[in-house]
Amino acid sequence: MSERWLVVPGDLITEEKVKLGPNVYVEGGKVYSKVVGLAEVKEGVARVIPLEGRYIPREGDPVIGIVVDVKIPGYDIDLNSPYKAFLPNEELSEEASYGDVIIATVKRVDAVKNALLEKGNILRGGELITINPKKIPRVIGKKRSMLNLLQTLTGVTIMVGANGRIWLYGKNADIAKEAIFKIEQEAHTSGLTDRITKFIEEEMHGRRGNQA
């Protein structure tokens, strides 16, 4: 039975011999937290799930970016990260321009953390929001359960980037947006799924009522 608890930098996680997961460090045989987050020792791995921090590109991450420069071989993409990303022309089936919203995958990250992107697609219309990237896993949920819930209840198409950007398309996008901001605020609590379900149902009901 794994239990998670809130920690701050320097807090002791465990004195046992464990494998080191993300956001912890070892000193004098003891494992400590590097960040503010939820600590967990599960299946022999000690880790901390961070609650704050900017997005640092990682291989395999889906990301949503904005074209900020059009170059001859491809595009410079803003990921709301201190690190840059580049999408080569051949990774996009059509031509993009300044300000276009792109969803892509991080193919590779170099020694100084700049990202090379692949499999890009332009997202047209819709609405783009940015939340704390560390709360994205909660918006997706275990086995995409939260994301499916949001899409099913509101009918909105939602694309989520690991870099904290979320693209929404649909009539009830504003309700989905409010729900996502709520998840962002309460990501570290339990019983969230039920509260979000209740919130959306109430909002959607109110909306149908007003469309009489």
Binding site: L6, G10, K34, V36, R54, K113, T189, S190, R195
Partner: protein, 304 residues
């Protein structure tokens, strides 16, 4: 804990000032932030003019009990929190207001972010910048907004105090900025700023080995008697022969990353001051921890 040296606000030697409050995540635009208040809560009271004799007697012993306004039939006087019990001994007393006499600091952290200028970036780690500034109205004599030599020195030693605590090597080719603005000053401003900076850095998600806690200890003397005290306020700093020792402590390892001293002490006194500092830094660290955890407790749902 009575002693031969009376502290101007009636505190015991080892007491930190009575009011230390930290709030994390107070600025919207910054990546991380903290607001800190560190000082003495003052009660402003109104009493009939006849009571001034009592006030004068107290002021002689505790200079922070003082008359601030005199009118024909009444006077207004300030009382620091440790001496509020004296107020009960006054006749026809009315408490007008409460306010903080102390340090107030806003710290903003931005980063990791793109380095400026680009050519100063390092492929091995993030560059740390620390900028300590004081508002012109924060001090008794209006200070010009231009950066002073003192602010430059404090910025530098503060940066050095934090550099090795942060895991800067995780963010090559970037910059991490710490901006500390003191809007109200009353001795120990660099220490207040650093204490808040630790919280702001953690709030920004910057990985750290510990939460560095800052405090100042020192020595004050009067009538030939001296005492080692914690957390000197402005009145104490200005006393003749006072020694001020600001420090930054890594609470877990009990190590110092900043240490400066103004004054003259013996070897034994230094030892005592360092030990007192570590004890007090741990108290500060508890307040820092609570500030960070409270940010999340604020939003907990009722079905936890």
């Amino acid at each position: 804990m009575a002693g031969e040296v009376i502290r101007p606000d009636g505190r015991s030697y080892e007491d930190l000032r009575d009011t230390i409050r930290i709030e994390a995540g107070v600025l919207d635009r910054a990546d991380g932030s903290a607001y800190l208040e560190w000082g003495t809560t003052i009660r402003l009271v109104k009493v009939p003019a006849q009571e001034e004799k009592k006030l004068s007697k107290w002021s002689e012993k505790w200079p922070m009990v003082s008359v601030v306004e005199r009118r024909e039939d009444h006077v207004l006087a300030e009382f620091p929190k440790p001496l509020w019990k004296l107020i009960d001994e006054l006749k026809d007393v009315e408490v007008v207001r409460e306010y903080l006499r102390g340090n107030k600091v806003f710290v903003a952290v931005y980063g990791p972010r793109e380095p400026i200028p680009r050519h100063e970036a390092s492929p091995y780690r993030a560059i740390l910048r620390y900028r300590y500034t004081m508002s012109p109205f924060s001090v008794p004599e209006r200070k010009s907004p231009k950066p002073s030599r003192r602010e430059t020195e404090i910025s530098m030693v503060s940066r050095l105090a934090l550099e090795k605590v942060l895991f800067l090597e995780e963010f090559p080719m970037t910059m991490i900025d710490v901006f500390a603005e003191v809007i109200s000053a009353d001795a120990g401003t660099r220490v207040a700023a650093l204490t808040a900076a630790s919280v702001a850095l953690a709030d920004a998600g910057i990985p750290m080995r510990d939460l560095p806690a800052a405090v100042a200890v020192g020595k004050i003397c009067s009538d030939g008697n001296c005492a080692i005290v914690a957390d000197l306020n402005k009145k104490e700093e200005d006393m003749e022969g006072a020694v001020d020792l600001p420090m930054v402590v890594l609470p877990r390892k009990e190590e110092f990353t900043l240490l400066q001293m103004d004054g003259r002490v013996s070897r034994e006194e230094l030892e005592e001051m360092l030990e007192l500092g570590i004890r007090k830094a741990k108290e500060i660290n508890r307040i820092q921890r609570e500030a960070l955890l409270r940010k999340y407790e604020r939003v907990s749902g009722n079905d936890e």
